[in-house]
Subunit: 133 residues, 2 copies
Amino acid sequence: MKRHTWQREAVRDALGVRENFVSAQQLHAALRGGGSSIGLATVYRALADLASEGAADSLQQEGESLYRACTPGTHHHHLICRNCGLTVEIEADAVEQWANSVAAEHGFTRPHHVVDVFGFCAGCSIAEKTATP
Amino acid sequence: MKRHTWQREAVRDALGVRENFVSAQQLHAALRGGGSSIGLATVYRALADLASEGAADSLQQEGESLYRACTPGTHHHHLICRNCGLTVEIEADAVEQWANSVAAEHGFTRPHHVVDVFGFCAGCSIAEKTATP
DNA sequence: TGTACTGTTGATAACGAATCTCATTACCGT
DNA sequence: ACGGTAATGAGATTCGTTATCAACAGTACA
């Protein structure tokens, strides 16, 4: 049976407060910094649970997993700033359909897809332009 | 200056021969198995070089980087079997355009995108269906 | 062809993310 | 309140990747 613990709540809350993708380690450090005594392994477990039940999105970047809260039930993708991490949820029905049809075309079943767009957000685009010599 | 070594050639060739995505370690093991004395670090370096110069595609799966040879200059995505690794290159002009426009809409510049479709290829779909009790 | 310069190699150490172990804790139905 | 049992957490462990550094080998040039 699934139990309700303050640790899981803490992870869920800490993730819900954030706007951007964060790593398990960052989240653990933040919780510890906030006075919590939560363990690293627990943060990993909680994040894995959240992701598997659809309450969090995850993506792999530079060899580590990043997580972000999302409203369960909705399928969406992300537009992520390479510089500051700002993340925007985007819908892409056309892409969903394309993925399904291209999979079917080649005889593939049970298609999943990874679709993320990276770039520099408006603010960082300007900041970079002025900073470059 | 960039030097030409048999090690780099060996990695390039070994990658070119393969149809599917492989990890650096797999490639290293294969080369060693073939009688080569190439070092692991060198395989990692060669793969990183190939990827950065556009001669190889890479993707992250289960915490490790996988590589696959590709014809430089062409932009494409992949349809990958979750079971056997069979990979099909797919074109997706519609997706390119969608990615660019959605980035522009939100003020993002220099958009890159990660688009990969996973599933079970025709062969593995059948095999799994008959294997399940 | 010989030689000096310097990029490359490879064994191993180091690193870091993620997972495993297992004794202890504490949630929850009864 | 009680008991079983899932969850926790400190530390050890695994495993992919990168850094270190002395030895090596392309390459340009005389």
